[in-house]
Amino acid sequence: MATENPQPERVNYLNKEYGIGSWLLTTDHKRIALLYLISITFFFFIGGFFALLIRLELLTPAGDLVQADTYNKLFTMHGQVMVFFFLIPSIPAVLGNFLVPMMVGAKDLAFPRINLLSWYIYVIGGVLMLHCMATGGVDTGWTFYTPFSTAFSNTKVIEAGLAIFVAGFSSILTGLNFVVTIHRMRAPGMTWTRLPLFIWAHYATSIIQILGTPVIAITLVLVVAERALHLGIFDPKLGGDPLLFQHLFWFYSHPAVYIMILPSMGVVTEILACFARKRIFGYSFVALSSIAIAVFGFLVWAHHMFVAGISVYAALVFSILSYAVAVPSAVKVFNWTATLYKGSIHYDAPMLYAFGFLGLFTIGGLTGLFLAALGVNMHVHDTYFVIAHFHYIMVGGAVMGYLGGMHFWWPKISGKLYPEGWARLAALIVFIGFNLTFFPQFILGYVGMPRRYYHYPPEFQVLNVLSTAGATILGLGYLLPMIYFLWSMRYGKPAPDNPWNAAGLEWKTASPPPTFNFDQEPVVTWEAYNYDELDAPHREEVPVAG
């Protein structure tokens, strides 16, 4: 690998200061990224634990492991924790926080104190969520459908609503910080067309965070107010319309899926380019498709409501718009595939995750076509088909990308190398476990098993057993990286500055980087993904051979 680490004991963002205070009061985007990493990992394992209990309960048709109410709380809080406290902050708040300033060549995000504030807001939201769980939990489903949530559920709806309301602002502030940073803080020479596609993906994500999140915030305010004060905005008994809640809820919560998947697409783009040693095929199409996904993503929300009682005409409009958003996603997949063509492909662990992402996202995306087709939707809506579909996107897509990115940038983040063999094994286990968990659920869904069922007719058992078996493997696959990442922090080999010989400004500084990222202000004179130039020294060896 190209660069040797000249001075292992250089001052970097990790060893510059010590002590709790230096972390809790830091305004360094890299340290805040690590704070986020720790907190979202915590919530990931809470959510994962709930998932495991759900799968165990569904091992048998009868309801025998937990009570029905407990089960309902489990899937509700699994959803809320995973969506609002893990997936939405995962890549943006950890990898994005760490990398966006470095990739554009800035010393920090535009508003470092607001960045720290966003983490504290997240923590406050998280503590509220934990408090909600500890005092009894909530059983509305993560979707909070009214009038069940406002007038019938007797669990901690208000607490959960407030927790998510608060956490939403952390997401807004992160997005705001990114947009301003990308516009205002780019290094000299870093033009828009030289930006890594990771940045484009985060820019698109930020648009959704900024303009979508406030709508769910106000919707939750209405739910909380309605529940606390017995208003009638969503309650048909008092003249309200429960479908209005669904409109407002999905106006955010559908684009929220793109908050999860777009950054993951950005990560995968970086990885594919690096390990195929190539420029991304059709850079501008990949970049613009991110923006297109963000914009079209706002126009399709009512495809969650085709059988909810909306008008047939509205259903037609939303169905056709849903296909519009599928085009840019397809364009991305084709461009990634074309990027591999005539590459020089390495099979390091991040690349394995990227391959996994490609496969799982393809399946997840294509099953989205089924759900957007009105005729099929009325059969598979609210069945396990939907569950399988969105897990393929949100776990198969987003989490694969997140793990791939963690491996890819771990040497930069920690300054240590992770054990490659274990990492490849983990990638394989996750891929197999994931498919075994969720593929049977497509069949289950089409056969007719509804979601959120605590017990089910016995003919569904075999598929459920397969799914539970897969979940066990998947859980193991997720534990492994955590173990060897922690291990590598102490025992891993020191990482060189650019272990992958990758393009991108973040690799042109030390590993781990100094507090202000660059010892000298970078000036960009090259295009993104200039792997031909990076690999040029190797090319000089070629004439000797031939």
Partner: protein, 340 residues
């Protein structure tokens, strides 16, 4: 395939074939796309694996290619959209002369009432090869009426009617699921739809009725004193309800609405909202005074006053329903397997 390992749901309605056909088309299309991408990825990954001294060959983008793989998927997507829309439209347009069943959902049971008067709980008996229209509402939260074998699903909302229909093609017992999460016993809110041969069905129908639903409605209509204003001779203080169902109605505020089930329902529960032109706002609301079942009966009665627009009882083959027979025999929930 196996009893405990089904790979395909039973197919027991006219809609099932339509949905399955589209589903199979989608499976083929997406299967081909998946294969295309997987084969390309695997082939490239193997063919262009790193070899020492063989650098990657930089290929810039290609606009013709980008256009190709934007336009072709788009065209395919539009085909899927149109096909899906057609199937959906069919399933959302109940035939005019369908047998009507009123469904009231509540936490956590299904209450079904045939237009002929039979009441059932968590079971729905229907004849084979006849259109059945479900007029559904909920007493509390949102539920969803889902019969996988019919490929039919519709959310059931409180405060209004939603409508669904099906035409069963194969006798048997089929799952009825609630698919909209509705609280503790959501997964217990299941039942059976029992499709019967016409003869069997006639036999079943001959028991357990308290008279047609519209007759019940007529009784309520007079008990609540509705008749004093809504007189048949058009001289009353309220509109004459004869023939009103299915017709456009001019409202006092200048709008025109079609008198469908939802309109009739709203007029009972919130008479001021869409008052008929030329009448005083004197009708009191019956919100809270009548149960969902009574509203259904009233609606069924008003509909029966419009023979042209057809209501379930008026034109279905006369089924003499001797009063007094007990409720139809309730069977233990079958294990989801077909009866025959």
């Amino acid at each position: 395939m196996f009893d405990n390992f089904p790979l395909w749901p039973q197919r027991a309605s006219t809609m099932a074939g339509n949905v399955d056909a589209l589903y199979i088309f989608l499976l083929i299309v997406s299967g081909m796309m998946t294969l295309l991408i997987f084969i390309a990825v695997i082939y490239f990954a193997a063919r262009f694996r790193h070899r020492r001294g063989v650098p990657a060959e930089q290929v810039e983008g290609s606009i013709p290619l980008e256009l190709t793989w934007s336009v072709i998927p788009f065209v395919v997507f539009m085909v899927i959209f149109l096909w899906g829309a057609i199937v959906f439209f069919k399933s959302r347009t109940p035939p005019r002369d369908a047998t009507e069943v009123y469904v009231v959902a509540k936490q956590w049971m299904w209450k079904l009432e045939h237009a002929e008067g039979q009441r059932e709980i968590n079971e729905l008996h229907v004849p084979v090869d006849r259109d059945v229209k479900l007029i559904m509402t909920s007493q509390d939260v949102i539920h969803s009426f889902f019969v996988p074998a019919f490929r039919m699903k519709q959310d059931v909302l409180p405060g209004r009617y939603t409508v669904a229909w099906f035409r069963a093609t194969k006798p048997g017992t089929y799952h009825l699921f609630c698919t909209q999460y509705c609280g503790t016993q959501h997964s217990g809110m299941i039942g059976n739809v029992i499709v019967m041969e016409p003869a069997q069905y006639e036999a079943w129908m001959s028991g357990g009725s308290t008279g047609p639903l519209s007759a019940t409605g007529e009784k309520i209509f007079s008990e609540l004193g509705c008749v004093t204003c809504h007189r048949m001779d058009g001289q009353g203080r309220g509109p004459n309800l004869q023939g009103v169902y299915g017709r456009p109605v001019d409202l006092a505020d200048g709008r025109t609405v079609t008198a469908d089930e939802n309109y009739l329902r709203e007029c009972i529960l919130d008479p001021g909202a869409k008052r008929v032109k030329g009448f005083q706002p004197i009708m009191p609301t019956f919100q809270g005074l009548v149960s969902e079942e009574q509203v259904n009966a009233l609606v069924a009665y008003v509909k029966s006053l419009s023979p042209s627009a057809k209501s379930g009882v008026a034109s279905s083959p006369a089924m003499a329903v001797p009063p007094g027979a007990g409720k139809p025999v309730s069977r233990a929930p079958a294990q989801g397997s077909q009866v025959q």
